[in-house]
């Protein structure tokens, strides 16, 4: 077999498989697994001999091919009648290939469109702003959470703070509860633990509410008082307004 084509042109194992199918002019619905597996392995072998980094995904598909091949070799399991064939072991792979092929096609069609900054261009020069335009405070803001987390990463990238990297959904759930508690305290002046829980008494909520109060006390933002050993726990803002 000759390997004249460049290896880095493949976008992944499925792309390589599609290439082999096209090259051999094979019907995608009836792939001769033995032949294709053999050729696929030859490519992997060559990539290895060229010391190319073989992404793990190529090996995953390799094992899938072997698996299918062995299934095809096995005699039909007992109990399965001659007529009612078991599912074709290739079916899932074929489905995946068809799907991938469709999106490859979709990508090409997208690329065929008149693309901005390649085929069509919009006004290049900035328009001079009429100077007196007043910015309204309540103006809409156009931003994306991706920009936000990128900004955060940028700031803390220079810092060697392990704890900063620990931010996760748990911490943010706690913050949500903290915000809620402070909002209600501002409105109502004081509040009991029971009020905060309301009717919703699932474990998660109780735990986060409790942790939020502890956090607020640690931050010296609230004070908590209890009337008697089993009395209601009452929260007050530590500082007025």
């Amino acid at each position: 077999m000759s390997y004249e084509i460049k290896l880095d042109v493949f976008e992944g194992p499925l792309d390589l498989l599609l290439y082999l199918i096209r090259k051999n002019e094979i019907d995608i619905y009836n792939i001769p697994i033995a032949l294709i597996t053999e050729q696929y392995f030859s490519y992997l072998e060559m990539m290895r001999s060229l010391n190319l980094d073989l992404a793990g995904e190529y090996l995953v598909l390799a094992s899938t091919l072997i698996h299918i091949k062995s299934k095809l070799l096995l005699p039909p399991a007992e109990g399965e009648g001659e007529e009612e064939e078991g599912e074709d072991p290739r079916a899932e792979l074929v489905q995946q290939l068809l799907e991938y092929q469709a999106f490859k096609e979709a990508a090409l069609r997208l690329d065929d469109r008149p693309l901005l900054e390649r085929d069509v261009f919009k006004r290049g020069a900035p328009v001079e702003e009429p100077t007196t335009a007043e910015e309204t405070d309540d103006a809409l803001v156009e931003v994306d959470v991706f920009e936000l987390v990128t900004a955060f990463r940028r700031i803390i990238a220079g810092l060697d703070l392990k704890e900063d990297l620990q931010i996760d959904a748990e911490k943010m759930s706690l913050t949500d509860r903290i915000n809620e508690i402070m909002e209600r305290l501002t409105e109502e002046g004081q509040i009991t633990f029971a009020d905060l829980l309301g009717d919703r008494t699932d474990r998660r909520r109780i735990i986060y509410t409790f942790l939020a109060i502890l956090e607020l006390m640690k931050l010296r933002m609230v004070r908590a008082y209890q009337s008697g050993s089993f009395g209601a726990i009452r929260l007050f803002p530590a500082v007025e307004g």
């Binding site: 976008e11 992944g12 194992p13 499925l14 792309d15 992404a55 995904e57 995953v60 598909l61 489905q95 995946q96 068809l98 799907e99 991938y100 092929q101 469709a102 999106f103 490859k104 096609e105 979709a106 990508a107 090409l108 069609r109 997208l110 690329d111 469109r113 008149p114 693309l115 901005l116 900054e117 390649r118 085929d119 069509v120 261009f121 919009k122 006004r123 328009v127 994306d144 959470v145 991706f146 959904a169």
Partner: protein
């Protein structure tokens, strides 16, 4: 030219993003949307008939002036050295997000058979793809979708203008 048309023309020209009919209606009082639409159609036709270097196009839900497609070779000379192309990996990933949105990364990985992280990050940075929210399943994976800029860059009025791919339709039929 009618004064109203001149104003609309100036607004489209000055607007950074494609200008929507709604926005024009906000700025020009006493003008119904229907009237604005017909003025816009007239203006589009005028530019068409004139056969100049600029034409008026409907993209990303609004109107925008653009250079004529067939003049691209000249404009590339002007902008020498630029057009930042998307890699095939990025294009494939973008196509999946566009057709299957909203979707999670694992679905892209599954279809492409390779990890899409790098491609996805590039698309997020180029603002062609955005984070839409999180899926309500264990692990709460991030859901992705395309942006308005995607429509602008790919010259699409809206998502429904994406060419329907027979193959894709067939596959979707099989899935359901």
């Amino acid at each position: 030219m009618e004064e109203k048309v001149a104003i609309i023309e100036a607004l489209i020209f000055a607007s950074e993003a494609p200008l929507t009919v709604e926005r024009v209606a906000e700025i020009l009082p006493d003008t119904e949307k229907k009237g604005i639409v017909s003025l816009l159609e007239g203006l589009t036709r005028e530019y068409e008939e004139r056969g100049g270097g600029i034409c008026l196009r409907e993209v990303a839900g609004g109107f925008q002036f653009r250079t004529r497609t067939d003049l691209a070779p000249w404009l590339r000379k002007l902008k020498a050295g630029r057009p930042a192309m998307l890699s095939p990996a990025a294009m494939e990933t973008l196509a999946m997000v566009a057709y299957r949105q909203p979707l999670v990364k694992s679905e892209i990985d599954r279809i492409r058979g390779v990890d899409a992280s790098g491609a996805l990050k590039g698309l997020l940075e180029k603002k062609l793809v955005r984070i839409v929210g999180r899926k309500d399943v264990p692990g709460k994976p991030i859901i992705y979708g395309t942006t308005r800029k995607f429509l602008e860059v790919f010259n699409l009025k809206d998502l429904s203008e994406l060419p329907t791919l027979r193959e894709l339709r067939d596959l979707q039929g099989q899935q359901e």
